[in-house]
């Protein structure tokens, strides 16, 4: 599902056509450019407002944006939020429940529906996005055609934004460098290996089991091999059942952590000078996943929500994902257009030979299996 360079070229070509078309559309649209004339809540692209400046004016008039469950140390979200605040000083951003889960974002939207504290936008794992499409307003950003088809819902209900590979981060001063998954079963890793969350709850941990499955002769169709691996890890006394955070890494409690490569890279940046932190994506089959953006259909600030989307898919924000070690959705198109930060792009961990991403059906089957088997496997 990750695009190849050739595919990227095609996409870039389509992008140019699409952008030109958008340009025409905005030229002919009956846009007065004032905030009051457009119903922002039903706008499905920037052309409904006229142009970006009109959208900015509408968003400024609202003056607020509610985001939820965006940890500042997750994929460089801190810098993304700060740049938005700097660019649009008239819009006050309210960040709630930074450590919440995707499911909690939807719950918050339903509980707060109709109030001006409800979240305007969501950042969701694929399973939650697929299950809650009736909570989203469709919107296609100006750079829509740069985004690979596999990453987006066709009407723009949800769109993949940034992603990466499931990787293992480790402290080279505490453990030897693992080169394969089975290395982690060795005595050098006793009481040292942690997973970011419980796989029956958190997307990243779920992906850790998926990665272990495909690396342990299993497949995305059957996570049992992954569960078996963590069962063995637990039996060897190597699995430590605390939630890893930058603090537990800094203190040395979790010297080995299964997490998305961009998060692991982020830990390293954050702890620079305090602790060495290396990241490895095991060769062979890699397991990738993307997080998705969506707009709350009941967004209290519909124009600001749409401006936030435009901002997230702009070159600036996409390069910020890259700075956080994540792979931005528009990476290939930006590489062709020469707008990507090539130094950062080339510095990403090497991509494995083959890459898998589970489909919705495979995810569901794996979730059911985890619900039945996980607790027993790690007890």
């Amino acid at each position: 599902m990750l695009t190849t360079r050739t595919l990227a070229a095609t996409i870039a070509a389509t992008a140019i056509v699409a952008l030109t078309l958008t340009g025409c559309a905005s030229g002919t649209a009956d846009a007065t450019g004032t905030a009051g004339s457009v119903d922002a809540a039903t706008a499905t692209s920037v052309s409904a407002f006229g142009d970006l400046a009109a959208l900015e004016a509408a968003a400024n008039a609202e003056g607020a944006l509610n985001v939820i469950a965006l940890p500042r140390d997750w994929a460089n979200y801190g810098a993304v939020l700060d740049l938005f605040a700097e660019k649009y000083p008239d819009i006050t951003i309210t960040e709630s429940a930074p450590d919440g889960s995707s499911a909690e974002e939807i719950q918050a939207a339903q509980n707060l529906a109709g109030q001006d504290t409800a979240p305007d936008v969501f950042d969701l794992g694929l399973a939650v996005a697929l299950a809650n499409t009736d909570q989203f307003a469709p919107y296609q950003v100006a750079t829509w055609s740069d985004i690979p088809d596999a990453l987006k819902e066709e009407s723009g209900l949800y769109v993949g934004d940034y992603g990466g590979y499931m990787a293992v981060g480790y402290d080279p001063d505490s453990v030897p460098a693992p080169t394969t998954l089975s290395d982690l079963l060795g005595a050098d890793y006793k009481g040292k290996v942690a997973i970011n969350g419980d796989p029956t709850q958190a997307g990243a941990a779920f992906a850790a089991v998926g990665m272990a499955a495909v690396q342990n002769k299993g497949s995305v169709d059957d996570f049992q091999a992954g569960i078996d691996f963590f069962g063995d890890l637990n039996a060897a006394g190597n699995l430590v059942k605390i939630d890893p955070t930058p603090a537990t890494i800094a203190s040395g409690e979790t010297p080995v952590v299964f997490d998305w490569d961009y998060l692991n890279v982020g830990y390293g940046t954050q702890l620079a000078g305090e602790r060495n932190w290396e990241v490895v994506v095991f060769p062979g089959t890699g397991y990738a996943g993307y997080y998705n953006q969506a707009i709350n259909k009941d967004a209290p600030h519909p124009a600001a929500a749409r401006l936030w989307q435009e901002f997230l898919y702009s070159d600036d924000a996409q390069n910020l994902w890259l700075a956080g070690g994540a792979r931005p959705a528009r990476a290939d198109a930006m590489a062709d257009a020469g707008t990507i930060d090539t130094k950062l792009f080339d510095a990403l961990p090497t991509v494995p030979d083959t890459t898998v991403v589970p489909t919705a059906a495979q995810s569901e089957a794996a979730a059911t299996l985890l619900g039945e088997k996980w607790a027993a496997a790690v007890q």
Partner: protein, 286 residues
Amino acid sequence: MSSRFRAPAAALGLLPFAVYVLLFLALPTLIAVGTGFIGADGGFTLETLAALGNPVVLNAFGSSVWLSALTAVIGAVLGALVCYALLGARPDGALRSTVDSLSSVIAQFGGAMLAFAFTATIGIQGMVTVLLRDTVGVDIFADGVWLYELPGLVLPYIYFQVPLMVITFMPALASLKVTWAEANATLGGTARSYWLRIALPVLAPSFLGSLLLLFANAFSSYATAATLISQGAQIVPLQIRSALTSETMLGRENLAGALALGMIIVMSVVMTGYARLASRAARWQR
């Protein structure tokens, strides 16, 4: 109670509290339990309730009961011993009041703070752990890191169980009247007969009542476990969290209601027992 309700002014005074309890205790409980009987389609179903028979869920209930019972017994015994030792101290003395106030504080020192305190002390890189490893060469985690598993909850739970026992049991011990001991002595009794025939029978309901309270306290504890354990949801409160917040297994919110119903049943049995024992114990404290 009923005689008090005859005074309308007193009843009126209770009104704010009654409304509060109704809004923030009774109503949420009803809603939580109600969701256990609602299916994905919004209709009535017993299917979610059937999920309570799932081995994973049964296991969690087993672990919860086991953990609560163990820490309640240890806490009750240790707490009772502390109370007994304190009997020797003057009731208005510095020692008694220090232990009393310390117990009140520590009994409330739970949740994430307590978990962090334990991580900092006996975590993998905790002060005591490192000290033991570097000076005496003892690795308390040689057989695996048990602190972040079910057995790891025993120590933190005992930490707040013992002071709670001191708070609830001390009044009972203090109400043992000196005159009873004197009567026993006058009638030719020994210290043994005093404890066996008088003190222990009088104290038994209070002790068992406090034991049940401790059990309920541990059974409903959530934050400490949630902070320490991130894998497997071994106890019921963690199962409820998992059913409510999971982003990988969706549509299980109603299971949380069914789990809550299970917890409420256990808690009702325990608290009914506590109320009965407490009223028996009260006879001797007048």
